[in-house]
């Protein structure tokens, strides 16, 4: 698979980080809104604790924790509906389509291939971010909860208590979101203090109270908003860099290429409907609740609910061109795309009575995209936020986890041993009541059951990066699950067992067998493709690390299915990259899978990606005379380019279709190709300003042609059809004009070897009274006539007239036809005002008819002093049919 920005270990650590819920009171939100950010958003850039943490495992060994990533979010009453998830994913991929030049490349044969695929990484991050919580695992349950109150509240302590109370109630009542089973949820209280407007003394007092009541490591006072913007003159805008902009979608149109909205808008479903369903209940109903929160802010936000918060128009952040946002790795961008993309906030999470109402209130970024973020926060403040995160993690979360791991460990161990053996024996003797094992493997374990406790222990250990312990737990509980035929739990345990095996520093075994089995159980027995996909993503990441590209490719291909085009396309592309990295590289498989991926991309309406993959694959098929394949690629390329309004590329692609190897295509196909080509060609010409010309130059009736269009015709590209057989061109000079009055000005078209710019056809008959040939027909008819006899006669006639005067040059008047069999070394002489006929042989290699019309001959005059005239347009006589 393609080279990713993160190492696998980092990837796993970032994906499986502890999830933290944030419950903030409205006044706290207000404080943050002064920066154009919500509290969660404010924390986003600081989610990685900078200090290393330490944790002791049950055996009292010290582990160092590095690179932990916290996932901070607001708890939502309902999981995202899957169509919104899909929309987010597809938008993420769509947005991130150009790897740029900084991608790494490897050479396959003589072709360099860019092997970074940032869109895949973006997709992956968003996928994991929105991974659904489930009962069979605890990794994505909220481990901690931060209660945030602002110091400007009238009674913060009481507010803390209220929030806590309410939260515990909702936790009990609602099934979603999921938290760690009580008492394992860690509560942390944060007091936000606004330095500019807040009361310092009050803050101090509160700090004392909080540290007394809640203890160290469970509460903090965070002082932010040190900068007073009202006192800022217009002289300085907040000059600090804006690290938040990379976490909010800056959908400025400058980044969108042409044709994006145009071509894709027909496929984008109207987001307003998606977001507004289920319907939003007006804030009036909130009045029922005494403690209702933010009904005020909900209204204006809904008003700003644009149909498409993810799409084009938005006010671009004037300072978003700071170095952070442009080159930010797509991971963080994507991480926050997801956050932003739905940004659903609970309207009523705090109202226990309104739990059933499914409100979605989209936090539109129109508010925050405008202007600057964090203008009240100085660098010092940012440091403080960082310190808060560190404190929270190292002094709050980690000791809490440590404690609980220890407790759980004891519990689990005590349950093991004698008790368990007895239990098991008893069950096997009496055939006991196994937990209902359905075919789907959904087994209902109570949270207190031994198996789930073990799983919980494993998960906690994994979150605290204690992989040995985690592996042990997973291994034993997988055995239990297997015995109980609880397939979903079994698959989950397998998956995590494999992951922890991989993350261990000393690996004894290969985790891949576990992975394969888990993927297979997820997919076949439990039919939960979502988890199967997740397991595949993890598995392939690890296989890539161990350079097992072939099984990785196989795993990817196995997961491509009919249900999701985008996912299949991405997986196929990754499989292609795996093939490329094998040794020796399977370049042809790579190209083939790129084609398949391109096809799926176009089905998933990701035109740019389709274009890109087809373009990449084309290099492998060129010049190898796999004509059908190449034609298919060119055709698709042309199509995609055309839809994206890249007419130049479309034209080039279609042009390649008209290649000489036509014999293989069916007539119907040829017809289609030709039609498409002509259509695209016309559009192309229009676009490059050759105006209303059709494929061949337009001929006017008047004596003065439209010179401008004529001049432009010398820029007309040379088409490969029909094929001109230049050797068989014939020129007939100075025929007596028959019926037509339009005489050519003096010249020859050329020196007799018919290399004319465009297709031309010869006019036909004219009557003649001269010696020599007046028409090609007569030439053909009398081809046996030898000119020698006539020439001799002519010579006699001239010479016999008088003495041979050396000054008089003998110019034969006879020869007026020139073709490949005649002597063409002297330039023919033509009389001014007389007609010159040119016959061109053309050949149609297609199996279909070609209709040529409006033909004209372009010619150029070279005067003796070396000047060349412009290319002029001859007047049309008529066309002799083929």
């Amino acid at each position: 698979m393609a080279s990713c920005a993160e190492s696998p270990q980092d990837f796993i650590r970032s994906v499986f980080g502890p999830r933290v819920a944030v419950i903030s009171s409205p006044d706290a939100e207000e404080v943050c809104q002064k920066n154009n950010l919500s509290f969660v958003e404010m924390l986003k850039p600081f989610c990685r604790p900078t200090q290393e943490g330490q944790i002791r495992d049950p055996q009292n060994q010290l582990h160092i924790i590095k690179n932990m990533v916290l996932h901070i979010s607001e708890p939502q009453p309902n999981p995202l509906p899957s169509n919104i998830c899909k929309k987010i994913l597809s938008d993420t991929v769509r947005r991130c389509h150009v790897p740029g030049d900084q991608g790494t490349t490897i050479t396959a044969g003589d072709i360099r291939v860019n092997t970074t695929t940032p869109w895949f990484e973006a997709y992956r991050s968003v996928f994991f971010e929105h991974s659904r919580q489930s009962d069979h695992e605890f990794l994505q349950h909220y481990v901690a909860c931060i209660l945030v109150v602002s110091s400007s509240h009238s009674n913060p302590m009481e507010e803390f208590a209220n929030l806590y109370q309410r939260h515990t109630e909702t936790k009990v009542k609602s099934k979603h979101p999921k938290y760690m089973p009580h008492p394992r949820l860690f509560y942390y209280r944060l007091l936000l203090h606004d330095v500019t407007y807040g009361d310092e003394q009050k803050a101090q007092k509160l700090q004392q109270e909080m540290s007394v009541k809640y203890g160290i490591g469970q509460s903090l006072v965070l002082k932010i908003n040190s900068r007073n913007i009202s006192s800022l003159q217009d002289s300085e805008q907040a000059p600090d860099a804006d690290p938040w902009s990379q976490y909010l979608i800056t959908t400025d149109t400058s980044q969108e290429e042409d044709g994006f909205t145009m071509s894709d808008e027909d496929e984008e479903p109207d987001l307003s409907t998606t977001y507004s369903s289920p319907p939003f209940r007006p804030a009036a109903s909130d009045a029922k609740q005494s403690q209702n929160l933010t009904p005020v802010s909900s209204e204006p936000r809904l008003d700003l609910l644009i149909g498409d918060p993810l799409a084009s128009e938005s006010i671009s952040d004037p300072l978003s061109s700071d170095p952070l946002s442009e080159t930010s790795d797509p991971l963080t961008r994507a991480l926050q795309d997801s956050e932003l993309g739905t940004g659903t906030e609970i309207a009523s999470s705090r109202d226990s009575n309104q739990l059933d109402s499914t409100h979605f209130r989209v936090a539109t970024r129109q508010i925050s995209a405008k202007g600057f973020h964090g203008q009240c926060l100085t660098l010092n403040d940012q440091e403080k936020i960082r310190a808060f995160v560190n404190d929270f993690t190292n002094r709050g979360l980690l000791p809490f986890l440590e404690n609980h791991i220890r407790l759980l460990n004891e519990q689990v161990n005590s349950k093991k041993g004698f008790q368990r053996a007895l239990y098991r024996v008893g069950r096997s003797w009496f055939g006991g009541s196994k937990p209902s094992s359905n075919q789907t493997g959904v087994t209902n374990y109570s949270v207190e059951s031994g198996e789930l406790q073990m799983r919980l222990l494993g998960d906690l250990a994994f979150l605290s990066q204690n992989y040995d312990l985690a592996y042990g737990c997973y291994h034993s509980c997988k055995r239990d699950f297997q015995n109980d035929h609880a397939w979903l739990h079994y698959a989950g345990a397998l998956e995590m067992a494999a992951t922890s095996l991989f993350m261990q520093t000393v690996n004894r075994r290969d985790p891949y067998a576990y992975f394969e089995e888990s993927i297979q159980v997820y997919a076949d027995t439990c039919k939960l493709l979502h988890y199967a996909n997740r397991a595949t993503l993890l598995a392939t990441e690890m296989m890539k690390a161990r350079k097992l590209y072939r099984p990785a490719a196989a795993a990817f291909i196995k997961m491509t299915s009919e249900d999701s085009d985008l996912k299949s396309a991405l997986f196929l592309e990754q499989a292609a990259h795996c093939f490329l990295r094998m040794s020796p590289p399977f370049t042809r498989k790579f190209a083939f899978h790129l084609i398949l991926a391109g096809h799926r991309y176009s089905k998933a309406f990701q035109r740019r990606h389709a274009l890109r993959t087809y373009g990449q694959a084309l290099e492998f098929y060129q010049e190898k005379s796999w004509s059908l394949a190449e034609d298919h690629i060119n055709f698709s390329l042309g199509h995609q380019s055309f839809t994206l309004k890249q007419l130049e590329d479309a034209y080039v692609a279609f042009r390649r279709l008209l290649s000489p190897s036509w014999s293989l295509q069916q007539p119907k196909q040829q017809n289609t190709y030709l039609k498409e080509f002509l259509y695209v060609f016309k559009q192309h010409l229009i676009s490059i300003g050759l105006g209303s010309t059709s494929a061949t130059a337009e001929v006017s009736d008047g004596p003065v042609p439209f010179l401008s269009s004529v001049e432009a015709t010398k820029d007309l590209p040379i088409l490969p059809l029909p094929v001109i057989l230049s050797q068989q061109t014939r020129v007939l000079v100075s025929c007596v004009a028959g019926y037509d009055k339009q005489l050519l000005p003096d010249d020859n078209a050329d020196d007799g070897h018919g290399t004319v710019g465009t297709e031309g056809q010869s006019p036909g008959t004219g009557c003649s009274t001269r010696v020599g040939f007046s028409s090609f027909e007569s030439l053909d008819a009398d081809c046996s006539l030898s000119m020698d006899g006539w020439r001799q006669l002519e010579q006699h006639a001239v010479n016999g007239h008088g003495s041979s005067d050396p000054t008089v040059e003998f110019v034969s008047c006879l020869q007026n036809h020139y073709h490949q069999n005649t002597e063409n070394s002297t330039e023919p002489v033509c009389v001014v005002g007389e007609r010159v006929d040119v016959e061109l042989m053309v050949h149609n290699p297609l199996q279909i008819e070609l209709c040529l019309g409006k033909l004209s001959l372009l010619w150029e005059h070279n005067s003796p002093d070396g000047q060349r005239s412009d290319v002029k347009n001859s007047n049309l006589h008529y066309i002799a049919g083929d």
Binding site: P584, F592, Y621, K624, S625, W626, H632
Partner: protein
């Protein structure tokens, strides 16, 4: 039994030297037309496997080397490393083996023609006719 076969002789530069399709009469031609390029793609992609497998065995006939959806790909490598690739959707090992052998002999004779340059297209209509007969005999019979 749907016996569709797509046979291609591939030269050293991955260029197809000769290609031909066999099918039972009465196949809907439209379906095939849309997928003719797919045949080429699959055959081309299978070349990787052919190249890999040919070093693992001394036999010329490599049997089935690859699979794509419902198509199997069998291959045969000649002494001059010309690769014969055949796509088929039913397993017909014996038929294919005999077919390969006979085509091989035919190819040897064709390549001994002093006017024929190796690795270029085989244009001879006689060759094509003979291959057709062989195909009918071994593959479709």
């Amino acid at each position: 039994m749907s016996g569709n076969y797509f046979f291609v002789i591939v030269g050293h530069n991955d260029n197809p030297v000769f290609r031909i399709e066999f099918s039972k009469s009465g196949e809907s031609s439209t379906r095939r037309e849309d997928h003719r390029h797919l045949n080429e793609f699959v055959a081309h992609a299978a070349l990787d496997h052919v190249d890999e497998t040919m070093w693992t065995t001394t036999a010329m006939n490599l049997r089935i080397v690859d699979k794509f959806n419902e198509w199997f790909v069998s291959a045969f490598v000649t002494a001059s490393r010309m690769r014969y690739v055949i796509l088929h959707d039913v397993k017909n090992e014996d038929g294919i083996k005999n077919f390969f052998q006979d085509v091989y002999e035919l190819y040897i004779k064709a390549s001994m023609n002093p006017f024929y340059r190796v690795n270029t297209q085989i244009e001879s209509p006689m060759f094509k006719r003979k291959v057709l007969t062989l195909g009918k005999k071994h593959l479709l019979g």
